[in-house]
């Protein structure tokens, strides 16, 4: 397997982990992540996937076992939280779901792909997506399974723990 993006540190390995930053209370209910955390349009955009290293389409994650992966994950989460929201409702950092690559790519009824997507400054960026050409309906259980994985590996910031 070769890496896809020049700035990525290495090809994605089945034994590594990726972290998904979670930053909106709106995707939680009863302390659990709901399917609102993963839009179907992220897994499978209507107009097909965009491939532009660092900004490719898909569910954005960070390869936290790679050098700087943790720092980049946190930095990006902070940047998103600091970004003004459209509706004035502030984003708040809730935590991270840390997923093993093998668990994500072994989700049935997909399959889901995990692609390296590094760019300068965000070398550990990666995306989870469905292959182009799949039917949206076919991905519904895969999306649900992905959210279940997130809930199994949810790490919330200390202030958020009490609510979960």
């Amino acid at each position: 397997m070769t890496k896809r993006c020049l700035e990525s540190p290495a090809p994605i390995d089945a034994n590594e982990n990726v972290a998904r930053g979670l930053y909106s209370p709106g995707i939680f209910e009863d302390g659990k992540v709901t399917i609102a955390a993963v839009k179907m349009d992220e897994l499978l955009p209507k107009l097909g996937h965009v491939d532009q290293c660092g900004d490719s389409s898909g569910v954005s994650v960070f390869r936290v076992d790679q050098i700087n992966g943790e720092v980049q994950a946190k930095t990006e989460l902070q940047a998103i939280v600091n970004r003004p929201s459209k509706n004035g409702i502030p984003r708040v950092a809730v935590g991270f779901a840390v997923l093993s690559v093998s668990a994500v790519t072994q989700i049935g009824d997909g399959p889901l792909l995990l692609l390296d997507d590094g760019k300068t400054g965000l070398t550990s960026h990666a995306v989870i997506r469905a292959p182009d050409g799949k039917e949206k309906a076919a991905l519904r259980r895969a999306r649900d399974n992905l959210v279940s994985l997130m809930n199994k590996s949810l790490h919330t910031f200390p202030a958020a723990v009490a609510a979960s």
């Binding site: 972290a19 399917i35 992966g69 039917e135 076919a138």
Partner: protein, 239 residues
């Protein structure tokens, strides 16, 4: 002056007993010596030295060098990061969460948002589901923190029409909004899963009962009675 940064590939979390971060600044000696030491127990780490010429010891230049070294990217809007961060020997993910300095969700914010939706609470009452749908269609833009849109009024009408067409015992176990404008109904059973999503023009559904083959389709929503019989049959089995 020399800026020393340690670097090594990080092992997978399954094998990491602890992670320690030490960031040390010494600006008293007229220079800046910083080390970001991401240490795994007692393993000796190779250092990657970055030399900062004395005449270029300005804050922006040092910051740039740190960025070039691809360490602490983005955290260095000022030199305030050069202080001791907590030493944590526990779950490595917890360790980086504890180092977080930004705004975090509080007990109140999460609970407030929970209260925004009337929980289904397992009661599967049509009135409760309808109330949730009413709330979904009036969600503000960006409600999911990710530029999400509220489901359309039409999506609300379609999903409610479908709910009314079901027997009471077949009402869904979960009902969610998603930021791409869908209202999603879900049924769960032992090894079984059904999802039907309404976006105002289509009903996109997936059904798998037990170890049987999954069926799914993206269909134009005409009316509740015209919904694919494979979906309603599956709901009859799981309901």
């Amino acid at each position: 002056m020399e800026l020393a940064l340690s670097s090594r590939p990080r092992p997978t979390y399954a094998h990491v007993p602890s992670v320690r971060y030490d960031v040390m600044a010494d600006m008293m000696s007229g220079g800046i010596v910083a080390s970001l030491d991401s240490t795994i127990d007692d393993v000796n780490l190779p250092f990657v030295p970055v030399t900062i010429p004395t005449e270029r010891r300005s804050r922006p230049y040092v910051t740039k060098q740190l960025r070039n070294a691809t360490f602490v990217i983005g955290l260095v809007s000022s030199m305030s990061f050069l202080e001791t961060m907590p030493t944590v020997a526990a779950d490595p993910v917890a360790s980086w969460l504890s180092g977080w300095r930004g705004t975090v969700a509080s007990n109140d914010t999460l609970q407030t948002f929970d209260g925004f939706f009337e929980p289904v609470g397992g009661s599967q009452h049509l009135a409760v589901l309808n109330d949730r749908i009413d709330r979904f269609v009036s969600l503000p833009a960006g409600w999911d923190g990710d530029d999400g849109v509220a489901p359309s009024q039409v999506a609300g009408v379609h999903s409610k029409a479908f709910l009314i067409s079901l027997k009471t015992v077949n009402l869904p176990h979960e009902c969610h909004a998603v930021g791409d404008g869908e209202i999603v109904l879900q049924w769960r059973g032992l090894d079984s899963f059904i999802e039907a999503a309404f976006d105002g023009s289509t009903v996109s559904w997936y059904a798998q009962i037990g170890t049987g083959a999954a069926t799914y389709s993206d269909d134009v929503f005409v009316n509740a009675e015209a919904v694919d019989k494979r979906l309603t049959d599956a709901i009859d089995l799981i309901g």
